[in-house]
């Protein structure tokens, strides 16, 4: 019995969360039960992801034929080190967000809608995991839409009506992005007659000079670029993050863009192949310029935000710039830095957005003037914010330092001195935008709202501190992250093993 299921783990990774979504509605009369179910599902998904990663590390890639239909006709789920690692990030974050949501979701959502909220969360979770594990290009689009549609719903649940416009904005941009991805995949299908990624990779070398292929690539990059908020396609992101309910913000910020990055990596390196992307087409140059612009403008704009959730959102735009920068270098070291930062950024942004959620839970505002003096009223949340902020800056002993180390080193190895300096300038800008919050929260006279606040409930503190401690743990013990990221980067650079 156990063995039967063990072989089906790739499918279960997606099917279990998918089935739990309708169950949320069936059990809608018992919201607590719904919550417990969803939490259990995310933990199960985490366990599946861990065991998949273990078996991939031990025995190499796993190929799973959906419904027994062999690839390339049937849908193949294909797990290698790269997506096993991304699945670990997604499930890991989900399994801390769900416990956190128990208390914090109630703030935004009427009691009778709570099961709906969890159903959306589970659908979003399903979509992200589906994009991650599938080895089929069209399947990517399907799961992309599942995750996107549920995300629009999640964002619109935010506390004030600006959440609706934010969701609508994202809906428009996201749909354009989704359509572009679909067009790109369609073109690939036209030139090769297949949708299986491995099969695509095998057949594309015969048609490398076709303009259709180049067009397909352009559509894919722009489409995925919209989903991953690549500068200047990031305009949907600040509002979406700022006005969504806290648990949704944490989840989306820490996972959605990461999966989009993974899809980009998959298409660029596995399907299209680095030769076409970097040599025939100027993907590397374009990505590098956009990455630098993104990291500088994102950090710079963040400094002037008065809504701190928005500030963190702009910081995310900047961090995506770092990730893209590593990709643009097209070296193993650069990819390793990017992959490391996927993991590390999920941890730091997760912790920071959770801290903002705790503040919001008590004072119903994310504005810096209302946060004045909150540090003394909510010391644990404040400490979490400070550590998360230090990690964002990239202080040693936090995960941010590890990412930065690899990213600068990757730039230096290629002789890009200016890039190394710009990355560090980004860090310094982070010092400014993080520290102005720290200063206001600690030194300023408490605002009317802050004066009445007390420490956030334990149910929110514990998940938040798990992430905070993870920031420190993986900043000191880098065996897992660096080890896996190195393998994954190697896998990507070699193309399909």
């Amino acid at each position: 019995m156990g063995n039967v299921f063990a072989n089906d783990l790739p499918a279960l990774q997606v099917v279990v969360p998918l089935l739990s979504a309708p169950l949320c509605l069936v059990l809608a009369r018992w919201p607590r039960l719904v919550w417990a179910l969803c939490t259990a599902v995310t933990w199960a998904a985490l366990a599946i992801a861990v065991s998949l990663l273990k078996s991939v590390l031990a025995d190499g890639p796993i190929s799973y034929a959906m419904g027994g239909w062999a690839a390339p006709w049937g849908i193949e789920y294909r797990i290698d080190v790269v997506n096993a690692y991304v699945a670990l990030i997604v499930t890991g974050i989900a399994s801390v967000v769900l416990p956190y949501a128990y208390t914090s979701a109630a703030l935004y959502i009427r009691d009778d809608r709570i099961p709906l909220f969890y159903a959306l969360m589970m659908l979003c979770f399903t979509g992200l995991l589906g994009m991650t594990v599938t080895g089929d290009a069209f399947n990517v689009f399907v799961f992309l839409e599942i995750s996107s549609l549920s995300m629009y719903g999640l964002i619109s649940l935010g506390q004030d009506r600006r959440a609706l416009t934010a969701a609508f904005q994202y809906l428009v941009m996201g749909t354009i992005g989704g359509t572009f991805v679909l067009i790109g995949i369609g073109f690939l299908y036209v030139v090769t007659g297949t949708l299986n990624m491995a099969d695509l990779a095998a057949r594309l070398p015969e048609v490398t000079q076709l303009r259709t292929l180049h067009t397909a690539f352009a559509f894919l990059v722009v489409g995925i670029g919209l989903k991953l908020a690549m500068f200047p396609l990031h305009l949907w992101l600040p509002n979406a993050y700022a006005y969504a309910p806290s648990p949704a913000t944490v989840f989306i910020a820490a996972t959605a863009t990461k999966v989009a990055v993974y899809i980009l990596l998959r298409f660029v390196f596995t399907v299209i192949g680095p030769e076409i992307a970097y040599q025939d087409l100027p993907f590397g140059e374009i990505a590098m310029v956009l990455a630098v612009l993104g990291l500088l403008t994102g950090s710079f704009v963040a400094i002037f935000q008065r809504n701190i959730k928005r500030m963190l959102a702009y910081s995310s735009v900047a961090q995506i710039g770092y990730i893209l920068l590593g990709i643009s270098l097209a070296t193993v070291m650069g990819l390793e830095a990017s992959l490391l930062h996927l993991f590390n950024h999920a941890l730091m942004k997760g912790a920071l957005f959770m801290a903002m959620g705790c503040f919001f839970y008590r004072i119903r505002s994310s504005r810096i003037e209302d946060l004045a003096g909150i540090g003394r009223r909510m010391p644990w949340t404040f400490a979490a914010f400070v550590i998360g902020g230090l990690s964002l800056i990239g202080v040693p002993l936090t995960v941010g330092f590890v990412s930065k180390w690899y990213l600068v080193l990757a730039s230096l190895q290629e002789g890009y001195w200016a890039l190394a300096v710009l990355i560090l300038v980004g860090s310094l800008l982070a010092v400014i935008y993080v520290w102005r919050v720290v200063e206001a929260a600690w030194f300023a006279t408490p605002s009317a709202r802050a004066a009445e606040a007390r420490e956030a409930p334990l149910a929110m503190l514990i998940p938040m501190w798990i992430l905070v401690l993870a920031n420190l743990y993986f900043g000191i013990n880098t065996d897992l992250t660096v080890g896996v990221a190195e393998l994954a980067a190697g896998t990507l650079m070699r193309g399909l093993p």
């Binding site: 202080v395 040693p396 002993l397 230096l412 190394a420 520290w435």
Partner: protein, 488 residues
């Protein structure tokens, strides 16, 4: 106790002690007992290492493999030994002093103060023991951040602004320049270990080496080489014990210590001499020595004057490192200890004057010596040591620095050192002289009114230290000589 265990314990103890200190916050006597016992234990641990290091042991311990081929590790060598000895001894003395000061001055949030203090010392010891540049950088950054709450202790708008300057410059230079320099070093040599004779020799050519060294010297903002010195006077808003220990010992000395380490163990003195990479940086150090002294002369606020004096004195050590001669390195290593004792005495006195007479401006201290004879006598001794006159320890380090300048053939540096000594006399000695001889200001009390007893004990210990180091500099010299020998 094996040497390995002692090093880890010496760092772990103060860090761990922050917990019981926090918990016993309600019972000040118990809390201070924890601090004192820890400080004593750390001193004993550090002291137990001395014979081994003198005998040539270089114990090392890998704490954790941080990145492939790059570990957080400790390695004890003579220079680190000097710094660790000074820091742990003066922590004990400062702890005694703080008890008198913090209570006498009715400071708020004393528990937070002692907790951060303990963490700062742990990171200063981490800097001292660091076996490679990554470990040093890590401890350096932890020190910057853990001292931020100490600098901004008062919580006023002024403290807040000072904290901004403090953290801005220290984090800014360390991330912007130092980290870049470290990564550059790692990229070309594949190692960051401190090694006798240096790491970089032959790996990098002249002009690039000069740029790299500049990134290090300016990136180590704690050494306060101009133009990155502004944080030091700003940080003087902190309570006096903080200024005393952190800004005469732990923080600033971490800075100059790091520069010495970089020059001696990363570049290697021979390599520095042969490439001349450090020559142009010497001008910055020389200018800082003179300008710091000149600015100090114009400051009426006692702590501000001492701050600029510190800036000037730190560049003695930086210059000693950059002169890249064996004698200069010896002098620089000795000056870490000599300046620490002299300057901490002066800061203790400044704090004592504040607590007992509530005075901060030098112009108000006329005749105050009659009310506080012990304090001003100690101030006099401390001043002599900073100037470098017998019978105080400062004489020796200045002697070796001057000899080093000659050895390196930089005569102008010798002149700078001599001019600076004269300037030191001008801005330091009038303070005790006027306190004893000038006509008392009207509000100076007639009868003797000294600071609380713990303060006086601490002042006595450090000023005696200045004298003892003149008559018995042997231990210090032996250690410092080994550092200078790194040239060979």
């Amino acid at each position: 106790m094996s040497p390995l265990g002692a090093m880890q314990l010496a760092v772990a103890l103060p860090a761990a002690a922050s917990l019981p200190i926090a918990v016993t916050g309600r019972f000040p006597n118990l809390r201070e007992a924890v601090t004192l016992i820890t400080a004593l234990a750390v001193l004993v641990l550090v002291g137990s290492e001395v014979p081994g290091v003198l005998a040539g042991d270089r114990p090392e311990i890998t704490l954790i493999e941080f990145l492939p081929g790059l570990a957080l590790m400790f390695r004890l060598e003579p220079l680190g030994m000097i710094f660790a000895l000074v820091a742990s001894f003066l922590w004990l003395v400062t702890s005694i002093y703080s008890i008198g000061y913090m209570r006498g001055h009715h400071e708020q949030n004393q528990t937070r103060f002692y907790v951060c203090f303990a963490i700062s010392i742990a990171s200063a010891l981490g800097v001292a023991f660091a076996g490679n540049m990554l470990t040093l950088f890590t401890a350096y950054e932890v020190l910057s951040i853990s001292t931020y709450p100490l600098v901004t202790h008062a919580g006023t708008e002024e403290a807040r602004r000072a904290g901004r300057v403090y953290l801005g410059i220290l984090l800014g230079t360390s991330i912007g320049f130092q980290l870049l320099a470290i990564l550059w070093t790692w990229n070309i040599t594949g190692s960051l270990d401190f090694r006798e004779g240096g790491l970089l020799a032959g790996q990098i050519d002249g002009p690039a080496a000069a740029v790299l060294l500049a990134l290090y010297v300016f990136g180590i903002g704690k050494a306060a080489v101009m133009p990155f010195h502004r944080w030091l006077p700003a940080a003087m808003v902190a309570p006096t014990p903080v200024s005393a220990l952190l800004h005469a010992v732990a923080v600033v000395k971490s800075g100059v210590f790091a520069i010495l380490k970089v020059c001696v163990y990363l570049f290697g003195l021979d390599f520095l001499t042969s490439t001349g990479a450090s020559d142009w940086l010497l001008y910055f150090a020389g200018a800082t020595i003179l300008v710091g002294s000149l600015v100090a002369m114009r400051k009426d606020n006692l702590k501000a004057r001492l701050a600029y004096s510190t800036i000037s004195q730190l560049s003695y050590i930086v210059a000693g490192a950059l002169l890249a001669s064996s004698l200069a390195a010896t002098g620089a290593a000795m000056h870490i200890a000599m300046h620490a004792f002299g300057k901490i005495t002066l800061f203790f006195c400044a704090g004592a004057i504040l607590v007992a007479a509530h005075k901060t401006e030098i112009s108000q201290m006329d005749g105050l010596g009659r009310a506080m004879p012990l304090t001003f006598a100690a101030f006099f001794i401390g001043s002599l040591s900073i100037i470098g006159l017998p019978p105080t320890g400062g004489t020796w380090s200045k002697f070796y620095l001057a000899m080093g300048a000659l050895e390196a053939g930089q005569f102008w540096m010798l002149i700078v050192l001599m001019v600076s000594s004269v300037l030191n006399i001008v801005y330091l000695l009038p303070i005790p002289i006027r306190a004893f001889l000038a006509r008392p200001a009207e509000d100076v009390p007639d009868k003797v009114k000294e600071a609380p007893l713990p303060c006086l004990i601490a002042i006595g210990v450090t000023s005696l230290g200045c004298l003892v180091l003149f008559f018995y500099p042997d231990l210090l010299y032996q250690l410092a000589r080994l550092v200078g020998a790194g040239a060979g």
